[in-house]
């Protein structure tokens, strides 16, 4: 199908990223904007903008009918959903295709299949991919849950089949807790997702979060190695790296091959990520879920492979077969990404929208800053706090962290606090430098090492 014009159904830094890739492919871009986003960077960079609704995301970026209508009215022939918002909404992907537009992402049935965690797990097992010990599918009732939990072994996690982003997850340490939490979780899941289905799996307390990037054209798939994203706060990734330094070459080869098997089994089309828990004591890895979209942290993979993932996913959507052979994809060096958010790390990460009164961007060899910022921009309070991603690439992990710290020192965002000071502290921490972290490490570290606000210089007074 011929694609000449892409509608960007997202906002912020990822919209900027997609516009840049589309422009390099010679494609026109039309940027969706809410009433609050007319002056965002993506709106300034795109060839045109289209209003999709009021500030509140449910009435604009999450309004499927309004987005499809705006894409058609703007004369576009493809829709890029970015991440978040409607990117993993199978019904939206179907509506886009039914309107005669190309959805830049997987087939709607793949989104639905991999978005249902119980079905994704069955597919993984069928592809010979290890999964966390747990129930096969949804647990009918508490009595079944008791029997299953005893088999799996406590502590067990109770997860909503339709949940995501850490929502709807509880941990039961014993049978008594299970009896209390199971009915609560079912009711909450029904209220939040319209589906009370729950499943159980073993809770792995000290795990690393490792994920494999794949690209597929619907038939063949390749991997672009893995990322480690163990530094998290409230289940949100804060700092990401590629590759995962904790893996041996044998573990890496086994992990990445398993991801390709699953991607090919489901006929995956586009860019996707398979998330795993890795136990570095036993060396075991377990598939947990697949994200059927481009991810926030995709740049670290781009830096170590030299492959433009957003351009690749657009080309695949345009009907081109996968141009890459596995043997052409080579790891080169190490990349680290720091998520710079409009939050005050010295005040319990309080959100801090506001006007950027001054901006100094970092630069130099091996430094990349994917951002929505420009001097004079007012960061609206209505959306995610991500301002940008600062990425440093170098020959080794140690050098990449030094380079990241150097770049963080150059970054100056005036007018609002950001999480940059947290990243400078992390870049100097012995455990981070040693890579000795797990998914709960950052929260424990923050509790033990509260960041303090810099003392404001006392203005000189003249008597």
């Amino acid at each position: 199908m011929g694609v000449t014009s892409i509608f960007i159904a997202n906002r912020g830094e990822i919209a900027v990223r997609v516009i840049r890739a589309a422009r390099e492919l010679g494609l026109r871009t039309v940027q969706a904007v809410s009433a609050a986003d007319g002056d965002m960077l993506a709106a300034r960079l795109a060839d045109a903008t289209a209003l999709v609704g009021p500030a509140h995301a449910t009435k604009s970026y999450l309004n499927k009918e309004a987005v499809v209508r705006a894409a058609l009215e703007a004369g576009c022939d493809a829709v890029h959903p970015g991440y978040g918002f409607l990117s993993e909404n199978a019904e939206f992907a179907e509506m886009v295709e039914a309107a005669g537009l190309v959805f830049i992402g997987p087939k709607p049935e793949t989104i639905r299949q991999m978005g249902d965690k119980a079905r994704a797990r069955q597919e993984a097992q069928a592809a010979g991919v290890p999964t966390v010990p747990g129930t096969e599918g949804v647990v009918a009732d508490l009595d079944t849950a008791r029997v299953e939990a005893a088999r799996i072994g406590y502590p067990v996690m109770i997860k909503a089949a339709a949940g995501g982003g850490g929502r709807g997850i509880r941990v039961a340490r014993d049978e008594a807790e299970l009896a209390t939490l199971f009915p609560q979780a079912s009711g909450e899941a029904r209220a939040a997702f319209g589906d009370g289905g729950l499943y159980l799996e073993r809770f792995i307390g000290r795990a690393r979060h490792i994920e494999v990037q794949v690209l597929g054209d619907g038939e063949r798939a390749v991997h672009l190695f893995e990322r480690e994203c163990s530094l998290q706060r409230r289940r949100q990734k804060v700092w990401e790296e590629a590759p995962a330094a904790c893996l041996t070459n044998e573990q890496r080869a086994e992990l990445c091959a398993s991801a390709v098997r699953l991607a090919e089994r489901v006929g995956y089309r586009g860019a996707g990520t398979l998330e795993y828990l890795f136990d570095d004591v036993t060396g075991e890895f377990f598939f947990i879920e697949m994200n059927t979209r481009i991810q926030v942290e995709h740049p670290v993979t781009e830096m170590v492979t030299g492959i433009d993932l957003v351009r690749a996913m657009i080309r695949i959507a345009m009907g081109e077969p996968l141009a890459l052979r596995q043997e052409d994809i080579v790891l080169r060096g190490h990349a680290v990404e720091a998520r710079i958010c409009a939050e005050d790390p010295t005040a319990d990460f309080r959100p801090s929208p506001g006007t950027v009164t001054g901006l100094t961007l970092p630069g130099g060899f091996g430094v990349r800053f994917d951002t929505l910022l420009y001097a004079g921009y007012t960061v609206p309070p209505f959306y995610d706090s991500l301002l940008g991603k600062l990425i440093a690439h170098d020959e080794t992990r140690a050098a990449a962290i030094v380079r990241l710290d150097r770049a963080l020192g150059e970054l100056k965002v005036e007018g609002l606090p950001t999480t940059a000071p947290l990243h400078r502290a992390l870049a100097a921490d012995p455990a981070v430098l040693a890579g000795a972290v797990h998914t709960r490490w950052l929260e424990e570290w923050l509790a033990a090492t509260p960041l303090v606000a810099p003392v404001s210089p006392v203005p000189a007074t003249s008597a």
Partner: protein, 79 residues
């Protein structure tokens, strides 16, 4: 005497704790100091709007899920 209470923060204003839940306060309701009038969502983080003065809630200036700026009129109170 009627007075207008302003939004303390910019963000999205909600009149109930969750979709489908009854509103915290309706027009004509009595308001005590410390009562929650609504929520303001700033970048996915929710802050309650708490009454600092008692009285009768006369009218809201904004609808549920409306965007509000800091200092924008939220509701009128007959104190």
């Amino acid at each position: 005497m009627a007075k207008t209470i302003q939004a303390p923060l910019p963000g999205t204003f909600y009149r109930s704790s969750a979709p489908g839940e009854p509103p915290f306060k309706s027009e004509g309701d009595a308001v005590a100091v410390g009562d929650t009038i609504g929520l303001i969502e700033v970048m996915k983080s929710f802050t309650p709007v708490v009454a600092e003065e008692a009285g009768t809630l006369l009218a809201f200036h904004v609808e549920n899920e409306d965007a509000v700026m800091a200092g924008q009129p939220l509701y009128d109170l007959d104190a």
